[in-house]
């Protein structure tokens, strides 16, 4: 947990319960809610980005890449496990998985 989210004394609080900044949900670790972890197999992935569209947490991170014909495109970089809650939507919607020959993304039990 970020130090700025240490619980404050009443004198330090912004007036009226205001949250005086935007975009701070990125600092909140929802990865601890996860009981299933996604595994991404780059070799089987067709870079269609369907998982990126469906991910409710924005946990699929992208990078710049190129198509086989040399044109620029966005590609999957990694899955951000700080935010991923393990809902499994990515694996459920993945067209490679649906086709059934290969697995591009799958959920496995989190184990300590």
């Amino acid at each position: 947990m970020n130090d700025k989210y240490k619980l404050k004394d009443w004198q330090e609080l912004p007036i009226g319960g205001v949250v005086p900044e935007g975009g701070n949900s990125a600092d909140y670790e929802t990865g601890t809610w996860r009981t299933n972890r996604p595994l991404w197999y780059e070799e089987n992935c067709i870079q269609c980005l369907t998982c990126w569209v469906f991910c409710p947490e924005g946990a699929i991170l992208l990078k710049d890449g190129t198509k086989p014909n040399g044109q620029p495109r966005k590609e999957i970089k990694e899955i951000n496990l700080f935010h991923c809650k393990g809902c499994g939507l990515c694996a459920k919607e993945c067209p490679v998985n649906i086709k059934g020959n290969k697995i591009a993304i799958e959920l496995v039990k989190e184990e300590i």
Partner: protein, 393 residues
């Protein structure tokens, strides 16, 4: 130019609103506060103010719209009475807890049932714990003056709480009385610009309002709100002093009328103080040491200051115009609390009067002073609580 004029209490409130020129007024009419917003809507139609006037579908919506507009950074006012404020109930707490300095004219009227449109304080006393600053007014002049001061008191940076200015329905709201109305420009100069702490429309600095607040933070927010209400006491004093410098009428947290050496004191709120002053004058002329303490600020409640003012008092009669069924009147419980730490504290007792607009005549007030004299001579209060002017005793 300031001018002396004859105007109803409700009319005086709408004139004060015109002079303040708030950004937004969402309102829903209810007797006896209707004339306030009715007159004001005419000012809007005539182009005398720049206000966005919103005719909402209920008082709940009126207060909700007030809160929204205030969060957006506007100076916001409205008016209501009785059942109207009861319908605002949920939003009263939201306004104070979100620390929005909304200004409400509350024309005191009895709560139903039986249905009644006349003055008592059951509406505002019921809302005493809602986190609003409450100022009470004896006359048209005081109500007008209180409303001119209200935005400044509420908007002080260490306060930021909503404020309700209370005055008695019909007795004051519908009574034409002589009063001094100040110059428009001078009032606007006194009021100044509202500078919100945060504005929802400030897209450069986005903020979130109304976030969930559970066991980890809610109580800290309440503690901060409690402090703000404590600070309001100083804000009331400062703004009242500045008002006195500007306009020459002096107001404090409460009014001390012939209190200095008074042995028998009546404590009361709102218009009945006028009749009590007349009786005090009469009895003083006969050499009797009687006095009046009239509450102006009920929230925050000035416990220490009142205790200090009652040092010479031997017996205190507290008049309540609001029932708290199964308990003493709300003013009495505060006064008795204030007096508890006073060495040689005076005897104190409670009388309930005027519910639903029942008159209390000057002869009735004379009777109160006679009764307190009897108690004083006997050294004993026979009845701590009783009703005045009720058939059947």
């Amino acid at each position: 130019m300031s001018k002396i004029l004859a105007i109803t209490g409700a009319g005086a409130m709408s004139q004060a609103m015109r002079q303040i020129n708030p950004d937004v007024v969402p309102a829903f009419p209810i007797t006896p506060s209707t004339q306030v917003v009715e007159d004001f809507s005419q000012f809007v139609a005539d182009g005398l103010v720049d206000t966005e006037f919103i005719t909402v579908e209920s008082e709940h919506s009126a207060m909700s719209a007030c809160i929204g507009a205030s969060i957006a950074g506007g100076r916001v006012m409205t008016a209501t009475s009785s059942a109207g404020m009861a319908l605002m109930w949920e939003m009263l707490y939201v306004a104070s807890s979100m620390r929005q300095p909304v200004v409400l004219t509350l024309i005191n009227r009895a709560m139903s049932a039986p249905i009644n449109i006349h003055a008592d304080h059951s509406d505002s006393m019921g809302a005493r714990d809602a986190g609003w600053i409450q100022l009470y007014s004896e006359s048209n002049q005081e109500a007008y003056d209180n409303l001119i001061m209200a935005p400044r008191i509420a908007e002080a940076s260490d306060v930021r709480l909503p404020i309700m200015i209370c005055l008695d329905g019909f007795i004051i709201s519908h009574c034409v009385q002589t009063m001094q109305m100040e110059d428009d420009d001078k009032v606007r100069e006194f009021i100044g610009e509202f500078k919100p702490a945060y504005s929802l429309l400030d897209t450069e600095n986005p903020v979130s309002w109304g976030a969930l607040d559970l066991q980890d933070y809610y109580i800290e927010h309440k503690r901060a709100q409690h402090m703000a209400m404590q600070n309001a006491k100083e804000s009331i004093k400062l703004v009242s002093e500045e008002f006195y410098q500007c306009f020459g009428r002096k107001y404090e947290l409460f009014e001390s009328y012939c209190l200095d050496d008074a042995e028998r004191v009546i404590i009361a709120i709102n218009s009945i103080a006028g009749e009590i002053k007349e009786v005090v004058d009469d009895l003083r002329n006969k050499g009797e040491k009687v006095g009046l303490l009239k509450i102006r600020s009920f929230r925050p409640f000035p416990y220490e200051e009142i205790a200090e003012s009652l040092k010479s008092a031997k017996i205190v009669t507290v008049l309540d115009r609001s029932e708290s069924m199964g308990a003493y009147g709300p003013l009495f419980t505060e006064i008795r609390t204030a007096l508890f730490d006073v060495p040689d504290r005076p005897m104190v007792y409670n009388r309930m009067f005027g519910l639903g607009g029942r008159e209390l005549f000057m002869s009735d007030i004379q009777n109160i002073f006679e009764e307190s004299n009897r108690y004083l001579e006997n050294g004993k209060v026979e009845k701590v609580f009783d009703y005045l002017n009720v058939r059947g005793g």
